[in-house]
């Protein structure tokens, strides 16, 4: 059995203090990545701060700013939140793609991005929605775009003493359909071999892809062809995605397979969101 301290925390300032002063202190929300990672030696935690009962992290609301999803909100709660389903269903699809129903009763969107897997299922939709990450810490609060939050595999922009307070989906919401297409080895309980988020914004499109680089990436070459050059042949536009990605070979698929699948899924995504 692993040995570490456990602190149940209901006060955000106490959490900051522990994170700031302690060594190898990890916030615990759902624990679905953290516990597995600790057991496997990925995280050498000396202290776990259970943040699930911190009131500021249990916010799930829609207001003038948009939709705010607190760090302790589970993926099933996000998927079931009506403003998410109605305005940004692509995010509900991404959340729904994580693990299984029982995992999603514990796992959180903040945990999914803090784990910073390039294959994180919520990440590509968040990139395509230009989500904002609200970070809180002893030194104050700051907000950064999701694309600045991911630094590399397992690495985020969080500094010592900071944690993700919430994820914000800003208004105005996208006008048009969004879709998250995932290729994986099994229908559930597997990470994405590749994950493609295609979100229509009026007559424009934003495309983000997971599991094809060190962080999730936007398919700017495809977006430029569609949004600026007016490319309507989706197959031709999708082929340009090769310029935006640098996949590797791993147990979920070869580099070549990923190149192929991303192109296929980007084409399908464009067809299903921008019209055939």
């Amino acid at each position: 059995m692993l040995s570490y301290d456990y602190i149940k925390c209901a006060d955000l300032n106490l959490a900051f203090q522990e994170l700031e002063e302690g060594e190898q202190v990890y916030p615990l929300a759902g624990g679905t990545d953290l516990i597995v990672g600790m057991r496997g030696g990925k995280f050498a935690a000396k202290t776990l701060i259970d943040i699930k009962d911190v009131p500021e992290l249990n916010v799930l609301k829609e207001d003038d700013q948009g939709i705010t999803i607190g760090a302790a909100i589970t993926l099933n709660e996000v998927t079931g939140f009506t403003p998410v389903r109605e305005n940004v269903p692509i995010l509900a699809e991404g959340c729904h793609s994580v693990g299984s129903y029982s995992i999603r009763n514990r796992a959180t969107i903040a945990g999914n991005i803090c784990n910073a897997s390039p294959a994180a299922d919520t990440a590509a939709p968040l990139y395509a929605l230009d989500a904002v990450i609200n970070i809180a810490g002893s030194g104050g609060n700051r907000s950064i775009p999701i694309k600045e939050f991911f630094i590399g595999p397992g690495k985020t922009a969080l500094n010592k003493g900071e944690l993700v307070q919430s994820v914000l989906i800003r208004k105005p919401y996208p006008k048009g359909k969004g879709i998250y297409l995932k290729a994986s080895r099994t229908g559930s309980v597997d990470l994405a071999t590749v994950g493609v988020a295609v979100q229509r914004w009026g007559d424009q499109v934003k495309i983000a892809i997971g599991a094809v680089a060190a962080t999730p990436v936007r398919a700017f070459s495809v977006e430029k062809a569609v949004n600026e050059a007016g490319e309507k042949r989706w197959a031709d536009a999708a082929r340009l995605v090769h310029e935006d990605i640098s996949p590797i070979t791993d147990l979920r698929g070869s580099r070549e397979y990923r190149y192929h699948m991303v192109e296929v899924l980007v084409r399908r995504g464009l067809e299903q969101t921008m019209g055939v």
Binding site: M1, L2, S3, Y4, D5, Y6, K8, L28, G30, G31, T32, I35, V36, R39, L48, D50, K52, G99, S100, Y101, S102, I103, N105, R106, G187, S188, V189
Partner: protein, 155 residues
């Protein structure tokens, strides 16, 4: 290092005051301390669902939860479904439809199904597939499991 912490909770309707070792999983605590051995250890990484229990009514993987997180919660294990010696209707339906062979996945399957029927009293095949997406049956009794759940949903 903190070694043990008090945990107050309800298990299958009964209030309990115990101590839990920090670092022990909820699964180990349920099996080794509460001596309820219905929940099983399978993969220990949250993929198989053999360890599923209901925490505040929701199916969760007890291998990925710490025993100390049980404090203040309502826990239901497979042992808590029968009332006065009579099996729950989902349990009866699993027997009637032979929805298992080895039975290792069955406690998790039935608890996931029970929670689904609370949410959706008349689930579709797709609802069942989604709700049980984290429950693996290595004997391949999925067809019978789906039939048992549909049968127990009929009012």
């Amino acid at each position: 290092m903190t070694e043990k912490m008090p945990v107050n909770f309800t298990v299958n309707g009964d209030k309990e005051e115990r101590e839990a070792v920090v670092g022990q999983t909820l699964l180990k605590f349920i099996r080794d301390e509460l001596h309820l051995t219905g929940a099983k250890e399978g993969c220990e990484i949250g993929e198989c669902g053999a360890c599923i229990v209901l925490l505040d009514g929701k199916p969760v993987n007890s291998c990925l939860i710490l025993a100390v997180e049980l404090d203040g919660k309502d826990l239901v294990t497979i042992e808590g479904l029968s009332k006065n010696g009579e099996l729950d209707r989902v349990q009866k339906a699993f027997i009637k439809h032979a929805a298992f062979q080895c039975g290792y996945c069955t406690p998790g399957m039935i608890l996931s199904a029970r929670a689904l029927l609370e949410r959706k009293p008349n689930p579709t095949d797709e609802d069942i597939n989604q709700a049980l997406s984290g429950n693996l049956c290595r004997c391949g009794a999925y067809q019978e499991i789906r039939e048992a759940i549909k049968a127990s949903s009929e009012k």
